[in-house]
């Protein structure tokens, strides 16, 4: 165990450099640069609010905040898992020439996306202020879903990265899965009807849903839902354990397949 920790310490600088590279290159050539991280969710929120809010007769004044909170979490989940899945393939030339602890690649991509996600939360704060969402003490709870989420994404990312080395069509399968997850995350609708209709379990299968629920509770001033909390922790620790195990077992064969 100590060996792994020492190895991690030795390559700590590399992790920082890889994350820096991810963020720098994301914006280097683009005109709007980092502003795009803020504008894109704003535009999406406006469209979703108009369609699912105004047009469907939803009177909630704070609905945009509701939508945005779910949407931002989903974007992070979707982007980070997609990039983590490809991380081994994309870095194949480096893997074949010099030794670097391979779990660094998906880890760096998750961290890069996480930092960009945190920046995008600025827009959530801005919209919240404009629509007068009152911060309460419950807002401090937000640390928990914000900590659980990257762990979950890393775990899933490890699983996907491992499988994607051997099966290229995983990328398409995951795109479909992400779409299903988007519809069952209660981003642009309130889940009450579904839960009352007895289909709540469909939502709870979605690991992202539990995180979204507690994220929203923190923002709107309610205590964390215990069930969702338990679910999200079980999911994230579970995925991390499975992902780490799969990755560890198969990583020596990566070089033979990329």
């Amino acid at each position: 165990m100590k060996k792994y920790w020492n190895n991690f310490k030795k390559y700590r600088f590399l992790l920082g450099e890889l994350v820096k590279k991810g963020i720098t290159l994301r914006y280097r050539r683009s005109y709007l640069g980092i502003l795009w991280t803020l504008i894109e969710p704003l535009l999406t929120m406006i469209v979703l609010t108009v369609v699912f809010g105004t047009l469907l007769g939803n009177e909630d004044k704070q609905f945009p905040v509701y939508i945005l909170s779910g949407r931002l979490l989903y974007s992070f989940f979707s982007n980070s898992t997609k990039v983590a899945m490809k991380s081994i393939r994309i870095n194949s030339s480096m893997i074949k020439k010099v030794y670097v602890p391979k779990y660094m690649y998906p880890l760096a991509s998750i961290l890069t996306d996480y930092i960009i996600f945190l920046i995008s939360l600025i827009i959530l704060v801005a919209v919240g202020v404009v629509l007068q969402v009152k911060p309460t003490f419950y807002l401090l709870q937000v640390i928990i879903p914000l900590a659980v989420l990257p762990i979950m994404c890393y775990g899933i990312g490890l699983i996907l990265a491992t499988l994607a080395v051997f099966f290229r069509d995983l990328e398409y399968i995951w795109s479909v899965a992400l779409m299903l997850l988007m519809y069952t995350s209660a981003i642009f609708y309130k889940p009450a009807k579904i839960i009352n209709g007895g289909y709540g379990w469909l939502l709870e299968i979605n690991p992202l849903y539990s995180v979204v629920v507690n994220f929203r509770n923190s923002i709107f001033g309610a205590p964390l839902d215990q069930r969702a909390l338990a679910l999200s922790i079980v999911y994230s620790v579970g995925f991390l354990a499975i992902g780490a195990f799969m990755f560890y077992k198969k990583q020596d064969q990566f070089i033979l397949h990329v």
């Binding site: 390559y11 700590r12 590279k21 290159l25 670097v100 033979l256």
Partner: protein, 245 residues
């Protein structure tokens, strides 16, 4: 008593040569059911044992397909051996291909930090050596140009500068001895010589017996994955010359 720098113990490497590449789920399952997943085994290395002391300069000789590159990759940590183990004391700088960690969109300067990190060095160390690296590479103001605009010579010079200035304990050279124009080549050779004088352990793969004889004090001869001979440079060269007559 000389300390061991590299210890290769009973290393064997098996590759699976699939007759048809299967890389999606549908084909995999179809072939699994039809029992068509056939693999041909290829043992690139068989029970290789090597002990290299600190400061040794070992030439790795052999014909094509003998397993030289495979052995180097295993020592560098890039490949994991099917059997056996390798222990290396200290930092390895593989000059297997200069610029393995290079990012095209980054400038030369940014790549110095990135490549240094890839080789396993901490930030402070790279910062210390930063100016020395730029000076040695003779890239001047081009250091701030993105790497994708570099010529191959410029990339090699940068890669060489970074890999040699960082003072590795074990240097792995795959026929890359000197790059650039005649003047720069001389600088490279002097640099490599100074590394020898400092007692860096060197593993050198080359087909040119003359080069190996010039640089190395010991050698090993591989043939079809097995060690045919190892020892002082004269004895092994004699055997090699016999083989290639």
């Amino acid at each position: 008593m000389k300390k061991t720098a590299v210890d290769v113990s009973h290393v064997s490497m098996r590759f699976n040569l699939a007759s048809q590449k299967v890389d999606n789920l549908k084909e995999y399952f179809i072939k699994l059911i039809r029992k068509e997943l056939k693999y041909k085994e290829f043992w690139a290395l068989q029970d290789v044992n090597l002990r290299i002391d600190q400061g040794d300069r070992v030439g790795i000789l052999g014909l094509n397909g003998a397993g030289k590159s495979t052995l180097l990759k295993i020592i560098a940590g890039v490949l994991k051996p099917t059997e056996g183990s390798v222990t290396v004391k200290g930092r390895i700088a593989p000059l297997l291909e200069l610029g393995a960690g290079f990012e095209k969109e980054y400038t030369g300067a940014e790549n110095i930090y990135l490549y240094g990190a890839v080789l396993g060095y901490p930030r402070e160390f790279i910062a210390e050596k930063y100016n020395e690296i730029i000076e040695f590479s003779e890239l001047g103001k081009f250091i701030d140009v993105p790497l994708k605009n570099y010529s191959s010579g410029m990339k090699s010079r940068l890669g060489f500068s970074i890999a040699t200035i960082v003072e590795p304990d074990v240097l792995i050279l795959d026929e890359v001895l000197a790059v650039g124009d005649a003047k720069f080549k001389k600088k490279c050779e002097a640099k490599i010589q100074s590394m020898f004088d400092k007692g860096v352990t060197v593993l050198f793969v080359s087909h040119s017996l003359a080069q190996v004889q010039k640089i190395c004090n010991k050698a090993i001869l591989l043939e079809k994955g097995q060690v045919l001979a190892q020892g002082g440079i004269e004895e092994v060269s004699a055997i090699y010359e016999e083989k290639t007559k």
